[in-house]
């Protein structure tokens, strides 16, 4: 079975669409608060020097998210 694509796999410069945020508790609410609801288009704009966290352009703001948290956010490829 092919593993589901998550925000973790998104390289700098790539754009994806959020499919599902699979966290629970306070981090889930925080991610939703910053606008990560289903269907939101997100662009990876860079990585920290250590490779983690990564920075994403979400609804006009740049937000850094750790890879552990990215892995629980499943995404669709955004065509184009």
């Amino acid at each position: 079975m092919k593993l589901e694509r998550t925000l973790c796999d998104v390289r700098p410069g790539q754009k994806v669409k959020i499919k599902q945020v699979n966290h629970c508790g306070s981090i889930r609410r925080r991610l939703l608060d910053i606008g990560l609801v289903n269907g939101t288009v997100v662009e990876c704009v860079g990585k920290s020097p250590c490779g983690d966290p990564s920075a994403f352009l979400i609804r006009g703001a740049v937000i850094a998210i750790r890879s552990e948290d990215c892995c629980k956010i499943s995404v669709f490829d955004e065509p184009g």
């Binding site: 981090i27 966290p53 740049v62 937000i63 850094a64 552990e68």
Partner: protein, 714 residues
């Protein structure tokens, strides 16, 4: 990192939001908004209170309030903590929401960022659900224009049903639009019809069932629709607050209880569980915001923040990110050392000449010798030292650091350092609290509120003291200058001492990591929690304002505080040194007692006594040391660092002593204000004691080691 009389020292101990109405007629305006939208800039522009604006989340650590007046009204402006939402997920959100709900504000001004309005509307919409009296203030219009984003504010206002004003807070004139709107609202010229968020069918049906019952049971409390929503959500925190206000349990009312039960089963029938209820609500809010911004916010250039991304590629780049951070630190230190050297000498020469003059006046007035000693040798001399030694480095370091802060670079430091912090099971935002610690450790400890996880917050609080605050920074700088720079002020030796200083600071940072890791593995066990950090756009610092503000707000304030402690301590030291018990002065008794222990650490009794007496303010440690040496030896004229070097070596200081004093000043107990703040923030004596003992053990251990190794070679 607002270092003002309100945010450092005793002021750093937060007192919650208490509003002291100056006159009964004054109107209260709550200022809400996301982090990084310029809330403090607006606050300062309106109230003229000198509260510094930081460019990162959670800057408003203590709730500030100020007053201002228009021709029509008197206002009290309350600066609420910056939040993304009012769902009360964090202490800050809870405080902001409670104030909007129960703070009796006459209006809430929600400040938004024009460059990402859509995200900001989430907070606006949530505020509209609580109250009708909302003014939406869209800030950074100039920046949006520069980025080619055009906003149709009147259309947005129509959709939201409340007034919307566009301003550029950095230009003072545009703020008048906001105050004019406040006046209009106060005089009743503006009527608002806030839009209603449409939730999914199931939620709407449940609200429709519950709302009339709530309206009847709690008349005039808050909007019944919103209370219903929160009851359905099961927001216990809000229920507690409501109960505090109405004075009896909410579910005392049988009708409310029954209606809620029925509404909940209705939700269940529609497939909405308590788990996905909040998701539904948030998604509706986000989609509503998206709808409002559709065709009202138009961005002409798709790559409007390309410059920021280019800067990020360098400043957070894989190879250059870390070296640049260290180089920046080094550069700031170098400029401080080079710039402070000469003015410092000039100041001390001048002030000590004034001291001689004072002595002559005292003598000519026929004052007794003890009075002369008490005032001039005691109080005045310590004061003069504090001023001449501390003022120049602070007057250079603070503006430089503030420029860095204003530019938006500091969140990038947190971003760069998050991985190492995560390795230590801590949070990258700890880097921001450390940066605040450079200003004042007490402010740094309060700043730890930006860290969400209680465990990680406690780690940040306990290790904040490893960053030297402005009280200790000049001391470290001076000793380095005296013992490593020598008397020459050539280009190379100043670079060398900047390197040494950077080395010590890096040691402090390394110790922060080590102790954080140790704490995570022992008494504060746990895994790193989640982390989101906003990287705000880079902004050109406002040079003029930064310099004026950092000199008046920080430098003079910190100096004032140091001086206030220094003069009485000078008096005390003089008395201790001149009142004898038996053959020796009291001071001598104390230092002799501490001496063997001090020697063990490569220090001496005098230094140790100075560190103990310096608990109220670390600024006075070096003056105490000098005073004590001077009292016991012949009275020297301390006009330059060269003479200070002579005095210290005459009292047995070696390079090992100098290293140990620097180490001990970097790692020892926090000052009394910081301890009080830790007690307040952690709410426990146990953790306050831990904050006291951990750096002390580290410092003593290191000094002991260095002394041991040093004695093998010397």
């Amino acid at each position: 990192m607002g270092l003002t009389s309100n945010s450092t020292g005793r002021g750093a101990v937060d007192r919650g939001i208490d509003i002291a109405k100056s006159g009964s007629s004054a109107r209260i305006i709550a200022l809400a908004g996301n982090p990084n939208v310029g809330k403090s800039t607006v606050f300062n522009a309106l109230t003229g209170m000198n509260q510094h604006t930081g460019n990162w989340a959670g800057k408003t650590v203590a709730n500030a309030q100020g007053t201002f007046a228009t021709q029509q009204e008197q206002y009290i402006l309350v600066d609420l903590p910056g939040t993304y939402s009012l769902m009360a997920h964090s202490a800050e959100e809870e405080a902001a929401r409670n104030f909007i709900c129960f703070g009796d504000a006459d209006a809430v001004a929600v400040l938004c960022d024009a460059t990402c309005l859509e995200r900001n509307l989430n907070l606006v919409l949530q505020t509209l659900e609580i109250t009708d009296r909302v003014i939406v203030c869209v800030n950074l219009m100039d920046e949006a224009e520069r980025k080619g984003i055009s906003l149709n504010l009147s259309a947005i206002s129509e959709r939201l049903g409340v007034p919307v004003v566009g301003i550029s807070a950095r230009k003072k004139k545009s703020i008048a639009k906001l105050t004019a709107q406040m006046d209009k609202m106060m005089s009743g010229q503006t009527c608002t019809k806030p839009m209603k968020i449409r939730y999914t069918k199931g939620i709407e049906e449940a609200i429709a069932l519950l709302e009339p019952v709530v309206a009847e049971e709690f008349p005039g409390l808050l909007k019944p629709r919103w209370i219903s929503l929160k009851l359905l959500e099961g927001d216990e925190q809000l229920i507690r607050e409501i109960e505090k206000n109405i004075g009896y349990p909410v579910f005392c009312s049988q009708q409310v209880f029954e209606a809620l039960e029925r509404a909940k089963s209705l939700l269940y029938e529609n497939g909405i569980t308590s788990d996905n209820f909040k998701d539904n609500v948030v998604a509706s809010l986000v989609l509503a915001a998206e709808e409002i911004c559709m065709d009202t916010v138009v961005s002409e250039k798709s790559d409007y923040n390309a410059a920021d991304r280019r800067a990020d590629r360098i400043l957070t780049g894989k190879w250059v990110g870390y070296p640049l951070m260290i180089l920046l630190l080094l550069g700031i230190f170098w400029l401080t050392i080079v710039g402070a050297n000469y003015p410092s000498q000039l100041l001390s020469a001048g002030l000590f000449r004034l001291g001689d003059f004072l002595r002559e006046i005292f003598a000519s007035l026929g004052a007794p010798e003890w009075l002369n000693g008490l005032i001039v040798d005691g109080a005045y001399k310590v004061l003069a030292w504090v001023v001449s030694v501390m003022l120049p480095p602070m007057a250079i370091f603070f503006p430089l650091f503030t420029l860095l802060e204003d530019s938006g670079y500091l969140p990038r430091v947190a971003y760069n350092l998050d991985k190492p912090f995560k390795r230590c099971c801590a949070c990258g935002k700890q880097a921001l609290t450390m940066a605040m610690g450079f200003g004042c450790n007490a402010a740094g400890v309060v700043g730890c509120r930006i860290i969400d996880s209680p465990r990680e917050r406690l780690i940040a609080i306990l290790t904040n003291n490893f960053v030297p605050c402005n009280g200790r920074f000049p001391m470290i700088l001076n000793i380095i200058t005296i013992f490593f720079l020598g008397t020459a002020c050539g280009g190379f030796s100043s670079i060398l001492s900047a390197l040494i200083l950077t080395g010590f600071i890096l040691l402090g940072i390394a110790m922060t990591f080590a102790v954080s890791k140790l704490l995570s593995k022992t008494i504060l066990k746990g895994v790193p929690s989640s982390f989101t950090l906003e990287l705000p756009p880079y902004r050109r610092p406002q040079f003029g304002k930064v310099i004026v503000r950092s000199i008046f707000d920080r430098t003079l304030f910190v100096l004032g505080r140091a001086a206030a402690v220094a003069a009485p301590t000078g008096l005390l030291i003089w008395i201790l040194a001149n009142v004898t018990v038996g053959d020796l002065s009291i001071l001598r008794h104390i230092t002799d007692f501490l001496d063997p222990f001090g020697r063990l650490l490569g220090l001496d009794g005098v230094i140790l006594a100075a560190f103990i007496l310096g608990i109220p303010a670390n600024e006075i440690i070096i003056p105490i040391i000098i005073m004590t040496y001077l009292c016991e030896g012949s009275l020297l004229e301390m006009e330059s660092l060269t003479q200070l070097h002579e005095l210290l070596t005459a009292n047995g200081w070696t390079i090992i002593t100098a290293i140990n004093v620097i180490l001990f000043s970097l790692f020892h107990w926090p000052c009394s204000t910081t301890l009080m703040t830790i007690k307040k923030e952690s709410g426990s004596l146990k953790w306050t004691f831990a904050a006291f003992i951990i750096p002390t053990i580290v410092g003593m251990g290191l000094c002991f080691l260095v002394n041991l190794i040093g004695s093998l070679f010397v």
